[in-house]
Symmetry: C2
Subunit: 201 residues, 2 copies
DNA sequence: ATCTTTATGGAACATTCATTCCAGAATGCA
DNA sequence: TGCATTCTGGAATGAATGTTCCATAAAGAT
């Protein structure tokens, strides 16, 4: 019928996502997006309507391609402790590939910059938080059973929420620290603490 | 000799700080700063030289007036567990006064927005991180002794670093959640986990 | 009281940004 | 090959930003 797209909508989001991830919404200019995506301004506006919509699409893509697979690791193994270890290894591996200081977690970054002021971002961020807590609860519950832990559900819920929030501190921290080993040590410390807590009466 | 200042330099920083704290550097316009401080643009530029210098002054003020007193709580009591509880109560109390969702921690916010791109901010943020870890180590060591914990220094250092990083997750989280109780539950969970870890052989 | 000196704050400026627009290009169809 | 349709990307636009500048005002010194 007519001229086809030189780059698909998905491909456009894929190229924009790393920029928003690393520099945030405000510090990513439309010029930078044009340069990184290799398409003109008109294409971006006709496809998305504006910078904010493109950002939301990038955030959604991050959830699907990066965050959700990480969350899936938490529930993918019957060994709860191994699952939690795998979750952290996944993100630490991401930072290892990109080099330190790393980009952190796109969602955690949005939590500070945009979520407090943009309802749509807040919704996406909260949805991720809920999913993360729920997945941590699965892993923690499995680990508790394996250890024969006497802890009740209420306490496991409390622990899962703590782990989910604590892990977000790691991604913030990953944006400023140069030594990948510090991320590793965090993971080790967390696993040891969790093990002690579950074994405790 | 000449006309005195209508508002001291410190007072100017004091009024600018909450703006940068809540909205960050990029989203805080010079107009907003002029409105909040009640002085003209000329005064800001003659006193500081620019927006970035004013931001750095605000960050420094935050460290002195908000963060350092919090860190001091960690070393101010011989009871290590009580000290850690006081540290979190201090920040949670801050959020209770301002209403939720809260502003989080100015330094933690800067960690995501500016520190990766501005060396001076990175330096300030890292200095704070070092101080926080050191103070946590003091409190954790005291708590370990009180519990008769068998853990060695290396492990206490690891635990202190974990707690410092985990606590920063809480301040990020505090920017998006409406229920103050969630911050409380984080504190409770953290104290329980720490206690278990220290008691563990 | 006058003069000197310094702060003041609004106006003006240059820059940067997101957005809009349109002439031309590229494809599929007849 | 020629037409119709849709995408393309750079130029134009208008708003907002950080910064500079200067006439004015205010206080201390003499």
């Amino acid at each position: 019928m007519a001229r086809p797209r030189s780059k698909s909508r998905d491909e456009l989001v894929a190229r924009a996502m790393p920029l928003f991830w690393e520099k945030g919404f405000g510090a990513t200019s439309m010029d930078a997006l044009v340069g990184a995506t290799g398409v003109g301004r008109g294409a971006i506006y006709s496809d998305f309507g504006g910078k904010e919509e493109l950002f939301l699409a990038a955030l959604e893509r991050y959830r699907q391609r990066i965050a959700d697979p990480a969350i899936a690791l938490l529930t993918g193994t019957d060994d709860g402790m191994a699952a939690i270890r795998a979750f952290f290894d996944y993100f630490i591996g991401l930072h290892a590939k990109r080099g330190m200081p790393g980009p952190g977690c796109f969602i955690a970054n949005s939590m500070t910059e945009l979520a407090p002021h943009r309802p749509e971002v807040l919704t996406a961020v909260n949805a991720h938080g809920d999913a993360l807590r729920a997945a941590f609860l699965v892993a923690v519950t499995r680990a508790a059973r394996a250890f024969g832990s006497p802890l009740e559900t209420d306490e496991l819920v409390e622990i899962a929420a703590f782990l989910a929030t604590a892990s977000q501190g790691l991604w913030s921290y990953g944006r400023t620290v140069s030594d990948l080993g510090e991320l590793e040590r965090f993971k080790v410390a967390l696993l040891k603490m969790l093990r002690s807590r579950l074994l405790q009466a």
